[in-house]
Each structure stands twice: as C-alpha cells, then as structure tokens.
C-alpha cells in the first residue's frame, strides 16, 4: 500500500512541478543562447539588450526561486490538506496505516527535493552547453584529473557529507510534519499553532545541541587539524569520519522521534474539522 500512496502523491507532484521543470529547461536553453548572442554581443544595447538579454536571465532566476519556495509550500500543503483537511476524509479512511501515510508523504517530499536539486544542476549544465559547449567539454575533460587527486579518505568524507545532507533533509520534513500535527491538536487557528510548534521544536532542538556543545569542545583540535605556516591540514580522517557518522546518527534519531510523535497524533488524536 505504501507504493500506491507514493504513486498518487508523486502524481500530484508531477502535475504541479512538471510544467515548471520543463519551463526551467526551456529558459536555460534560451539564456544559453541570449547570453552568447545578446549580452556578449557589443552591438546590441539599450532596451533590446534588456528585453532579449537581461529579461530571460531575470525570468530564470525568478523561476528557480519560485520552484524552491513552491517545493517547501508543496511539502507542507500536501501533508496538511491531504491528511488533515477535507481530503483527510478520503485518505484517512483508506485501508492503510498512519505510518504508511507519513512515510509516503516524506518519501515524496524527499524525491521532490532530490529532483529539484538535480534539475537545478542539469539546468546550469544545459545553460553552459548552449552558451559555450567548449566550457562544458573542458569541465568533463578535467573531471578525471580531479578524481585522480582525490584519495579514498576524501571520497568517504564526501559520501558521509552527502548522507548527512540527505538525512538532514528528511529530518527537516519530519520537523514540519510534527509541527503540523501539533497544530492540529488545537481547536482553532491550527495553521498559526503549527507555525508556533515549528518554532518551539527548533528552539528545543537547538537548546539540546547547545547543551551538548561543551562535550565536543573537549575534543582536542589536533586530532583533526594542524595549522602551520602553509595553512590548515587534515591530520586524521578517522575522527572526522566518526564525527560525521555520529552527526548522521543524531539526525536519524531526531527524525525518527519526529516520525513516531507525528504518528501517535494521527493515530490517536485525529480530529478532522
């Protein structure tokens, strides 16, 4: 049933973002062309330069910003409207568990963020490919050289960092979901209570981290870095790797706690308006 829930959540995601992603691709291609032929072309000036050179660039930046903001709004809206609004009368009477509902929403949110991130990178590459294909070719030619200089330690750290960011993104989504669930416990002004709950959870988490900070400060810096006249050098990879692994674990525990708290509310305290 989880797969089926994701299917419909993802379908709603595609309906809203599909045209925007296509718009980003189209604008990237247009900008690649206009930067090369209008902005780099000294003979086009004045209003023509603004209309055909600057304007597409502004539109692309506005669209990128809009997609980023809309992704966040979508994550909140699909959870709030889909489970706790009128649509809840349909979704919460489907023969699925509340755990599956939360997991489906979180996985769709994760996929949306991932696709938006990939779309932004592809967008940039596409723009370069149309503007100056030679630059892109140069980048791809240089990549093997870069990889040759990166040893296994750095790769481990990069992968760990990537996992840290991804788990953090899931944790952020679960943070939003818990805030919405807590807001749902209020009789009135549930959106306002949700916002208040979001801030409160942030304060609690940051206070807990602040309390833990002195423990981290006790670890001697020399374990990780040495500083000499040539700059900072990483001396030991293992402690850094362990530290990032620990941070991932903390993130995962917090995300799981948010998940179970949200699930408790949906299961036991659901009260659709």
């Amino acid at each position: 049933m989880l797969g089926k829930l994701i299917k419909y959540d993802f379908r709603s995601c595609i309906r809203r973002f599909g045209p925007l992603w296509l718009g980003m691709v189209a604008l990237a291609v247009i900008n690649g062309f206009t930067i090369g032929h209008v902005l780099d072309n000294g003979s086009i000036t004045g209003w023509a330069q603004f209309a055909f050179g600057v304007m597409p660039l502004i539109l692309l930046i506005v669209l990128w910003t809009a997609v980023a903001i809309m992704s966040l709004v979508f994550v909140c809206e699909r959870f709030y409207k889909g489970l706790l609004g009128d649509e809840g009368y349909l979704s919460m009477t489907l023969p699925v568990t509340t755990e599956e509902h939360i997991a489906a929403k979180a996985i769709t949110a994760f996929l949306l963020e991932l696709i938006t991130g990939i779309a932004a990178v592809v967008n940039g590459l596409l723009l370069i490919a149309v503007y100056r294909p030679a630059i892109l070719a140069e980048i791809f030619r240089a990549l093997p050289k870069v990889f040759r200089y990166i040893d296994g330690h750095v790769v481990t750290l990069l992968i760990e960092y990537l996992v840290f960011v991804l788990v953090g993104s899931v944790g952020q989504t679960m943070h939003i979901y818990l805030a919405i669930c807590l807001g749902h416990l209020a009789k009135n002004h549930r959106v306002a209570w949700s916002l208040g709950a979001y801030v409160l959870i942030s304060v609690v988490i940051s206070n807990i981290l602040t309390l833990c900070a002195p423990l981290l400060n006790r670890i001697p810096e020399e374990w990780f870095f040495t500083i000499d006249e040539f700059g900072t050098h990483i001396t030991a990879f293992a402690p850094i790797a362990w530290m990032i692994a620990g941070a991932i674990l903390v993130e995962a525990i917090v995300a799981a706690a948010f998940f179970f708290a949200s699930n408790y509310i949906l299961k036991n305290r659901l009260n659709l308006e």
């Binding site: 089926k4 299917k7 409207k81 009128d86």
Partner: protein, 234 residues
C-alpha cells in the same frame, strides 16, 4: 443475522461536551438503517468512530469483529458530509485510486454511472460543479461491494430532484448482503426504504427498533414519531 457493528459503552468527549454518551448498539448485516437525530445529536461522531476517523474516549466499537483500522476500513464504504476530492485530480485518477485501494470496487459500474452523468475520465475535478462532485462521490462510494456503507447526511442541503437521484443511486447499487447506515434528520425522504431506525438524542440512543415494529406499536410513521420526540430541538 450476523452482528456487523457492535458498540459497547461508547463515549466521546470534545472538551466539556459529551458527544456520545455510553452508547450500546448492535447492527446486523443485510439492513438499511436510519441513524436519526437532530443536528448535534452525535450521528457524525458515531460514524467517524466506526470508520476510524475518531477515537472514542472510552468504550469499544467493533466492525465485523475488528477494531477500526486498515482491515475494517477495507470493508467500509464511507460517504462524508463534505467533498473530499483532491483538486489536482481528474475523474480517471479517482477511479484509479478506488481501484488500487479497494478490492471490492467495481470500476465498470462506476464508469457507467459517470458516463450517464456526462463525466469524462480526463475531466478535471475542480472544474465540476459542487452538485456534480457530490454525485460523483456518491457513485464511487456505491460502486463498492462493501460490507458496511456509512452515509453521513447524503440528502442534506440538496433539491428534491437531487434527493431522488441520491436515493435511487443508493438503492440500486448497494450490496444487499451488507448494511447501509444512513444518518439524516430528513426522515420523510428515506423512511420508505428503512428496515430499522436508531434515534440519537444528545449522544444517547433513545430508540433502536425495526421500522415496521415502530409503525405497528405507535400507529404513526417514523417521521411523525421523530417530530414528536424531538419537537423541542427541531
């Protein structure tokens, strides 16, 4: 007749208000039952508890021997007193959804009913009128071969022609081995089709009896008896 719904000592508080007060109720299969009471008598609360949208403060509710959960939801077909369609969906998406989640959904029947109403699979739901959306919701709910139909105020706030359409859709499509529980305060429109009537007043069941028996015992219609009993609240 096997017991399909069993409620014992069912109580639900909302803050200081007792919406359901120690309700004991047993419903059997193969019946059309009216859940009758004025606004605020606890009809919707009882239906929401049966389909798992609310938890009781105390007491138990069992549907086919199961506490409300995914298994009981699979055999309940529920029509709420409001529209629940996601506005991004098309008519075909709703058909897909019902087919994916409910093993007892008869897609061919639903498509026939939609066609009769002039609805196309690719029609966007948000472009449909409120009345058409309500009819479509009812058609989807009645296209299931469910064990229990929970219909919350299906005929409230609609014109007489729509009322007739709604009652006709219910009566020609429900699973005769199952039970239909219809909540309403408009009794005269449904009295003819009811097997049993449950009267709710301020969260308490004050009467649960076969409709024929009520008529025989009191010498008046269920509607007349209802008006008499709830005169002060209507």
């Amino acid at each position: 007749m096997s017991e399909l719904v069993t409620c014992s000592g069912l109580t639900r508080w909302f803050g200081q208000t007792k919406a359901l007060d120690n309700v004991d109720l047993t419903l059997t299969s193969g019946k059309i039952i009216g859940l009758l009471g004025p606004n605020g008598s606890g009809k919707t609360t009882l239906i929401k508890i049966l389909n798992g949208l609310l938890r009781p403060t105390s007491g138990t509710a069992l549907v086919d021997g199961m506490e409300p959960g995914p298994e009981s939801k699979a055999i309940i077909s529920y029509l709420p007193d409001r529209g629940y369609f996601p506005d991004w969906m098309r008519v075909g998406d709703m058909m897909d959804l019902f087919e994916d989640f409910y093993g007892d959904f008869d897609r061919a029947k639903a498509e026939d009913m939609c066609r009769a109403l002039g609805l196309k699979s690719e029609s966007s739901i948000k472009t449909l009128s409120k009345g058409t959306r309500e009819k479509m919701q009812l058609m989807l709910v009645m296209s299931r071969k469910a064990k229990l139909y929970l219909l919350d105020e299906p005929i409230a706030g609609v014109d007489p022609a729509a009322r007739e359409f709604i009652m006709q859709t219910i009566l020609t499509n429900y699973n005769e081995d199952g039970t239909v529980l219809i909540s309403t305060h408009l009794i005269s429109d449904i009295e003819q089709v009811l097997d049993e009537a449950v009267f709710l007043q301020q969260g308490k069941i004050i009467l649960h009896e076969a409709v024929d028996s009520i008529r025989e015992r009191t010498g008046e219609s269920v509607d007349a008896l209802f008006r008499e009993m709830f005169r002060a609240q209507l």
